[in-house]
């Protein structure tokens, strides 16, 4: 999967036609095969753009930054990235007519060790769902697979699960990198650091991490697109996907196979309801 040449050509043409002010893509970091996202305003820099299976970071995160918010931007999106972009569009955070989107029919990206990322193995929507131009051969929708970690955890006992998650919350250093790197966390003031809230959490105790991560993941439930930006940003390497995948599984199984950001104009799972939603857990 190498679309560097095509992306360079498209970006150069967009700049030449005056269609965009900035282009968001990836470039090599200059010494090994890892890549750095790059926000280009100068058409001369177009030749540095690359796209390979090392292009991991979800670029739709940059659309909430100052450089791109009110500009005409071109960007590259993989399947998962396009889902989060789709949600940003639906939630009126970015304007579609300001964007030129290069969609990728993604074959999966790899992590630092060169292994295919777990979310790519379990990917349901590999092709970009919102795009102006598509690169690669579309593979179509795949079947939903329940995350292997979730399956394994569900089989464990209550005490074992509690112990496992306690370790996660104890190792959280509360840097909030997960939130900042999440493309869908765009609130000007996040509820987990509201200083006026009486439960404000500045400390890195397990109870404050529990509060912050649980609240955060529940606010992303039905919207999380499993791009794993949060996990990539986490300095403690916490398996944050467990919280999101658990929510995703419950939502997919119970709410008419809802998947976040797949359909155009469709909002998160909590913005709608069905009369047939499960009711048996309520007395």
């Amino acid at each position: 999967m190498d679309y560097s040449k095509q992306i360079q050509d498209i970006a150069a043409k967009l700049f030449a036609d005056g269609k965009i002010d900035v282009f968001v893509g990836y470039r090599m970091n200059g010494f090994d095969d890892n890549q750095i996202p790059v926000v280009i305003t100068d058409p001369k820099e177009v030749s540095t753009l690359v796209f390979t299976e090392k292009s991991v970071f979800n670029l739709s995160n940059y659309l909430k930054a100052d450089h791109t918010r009110n500009k005409r931007a071109g960007l590259v999106v993989k399947g998962c990235d396009s889902r989060s972009l789709n949600l940003l569009l639906t939630e009126s955070q970015v304007k579609r007519d300001r964007l030129y989107i290069i969609g990728i029919a993604c074959e999966g990206v790899v992590d630092d060790k060169g292994q295919k990322m777990q979310n790519c193995i379990e990917c349901i929507v590999p092709d970009a769902v919102v795009y102006d131009e598509m690169l690669g051969n579309p593979q179509g929708r795949k079947d939903y697979i329940v995350n292997a970690d979730i399956k394994a955890l569900a089989e464990k006992g209550l005490v074992e699960r509690r112990e496992y998650f306690e370790e996660i919350f104890e190792n959280c250093i509360r840097c909030n990198a997960c939130r900042h790197s999440c493309p869908l966390c765009y609130c000007a003031k996040c509820c987990i650091d509201q200083e006026t809230a009486s439960l404000y959490n500045g400390s890195n105790t397990a109870s404050s991490a529990f509060h912050a991560l649980m609240t955060w993941s529940l606010h992303l439930a039905g919207r999380c697109v499993d791009c794993r930006n949060c996990e990539k940003a986490c300095p403690s390497h916490l398996p944050l996907h467990l919280l999101h995948k658990q929510n995703e599984k419950v939502i997919f199984e119970n709410f008419q196979n809802h998947l976040a950001g797949v359909e155009e104009g469709e909002r998160g799972a909590f913005y709608k309801y069905s009369l047939k939603d499960p009711d048996d857990f309520i007395m």
Binding site: R161, R162, H211, S274
Partner: protein, 160 residues
Amino acid sequence: MEEVKDKIVSIEKPELLAPPDWKPVIVGILCNWCSYAGSDLTGTSRTQYPPNIRIIRVPCSSRVDPWFIIKALQTTADGVLISGCHPGDCHYISGNYYARRRFLVTRELLKMVGFHEHRVQFSWVSAAEGAKFAQVVKKVTEDVVKLGPLHLYKKENFNK
């Protein structure tokens, strides 16, 4: 329900024993139009129910952010009861349908991270169901007594 049996352990942390005078605290978050009125009816019709519940009134069950549940569990509560109007009866037409989705996801996530499923319970109680409210509170209190005190992620500064 005032009496608590000897040797009650916390189900999530079996190594911890409940003190002999432990009484569970249930936080009840009730919707203004149905469940709160229902609980009122329970009182006016003099139906007995366990005194362990502390009731908070909210405009609608969809006002309940999952955060409220988390906050309750991290502070006072050994168990949480959330109650609203029956489906179709919502004062705001569809609030409880939205709430229902959130409740399911919250409940499943709390189960996942190691809370017993009976810690957080939900019910539909209408304004006419005073007897049902008493029953629900009785059941929730009984369940929580069996589970023992909650010792997960409690706030350090919280003095019960």
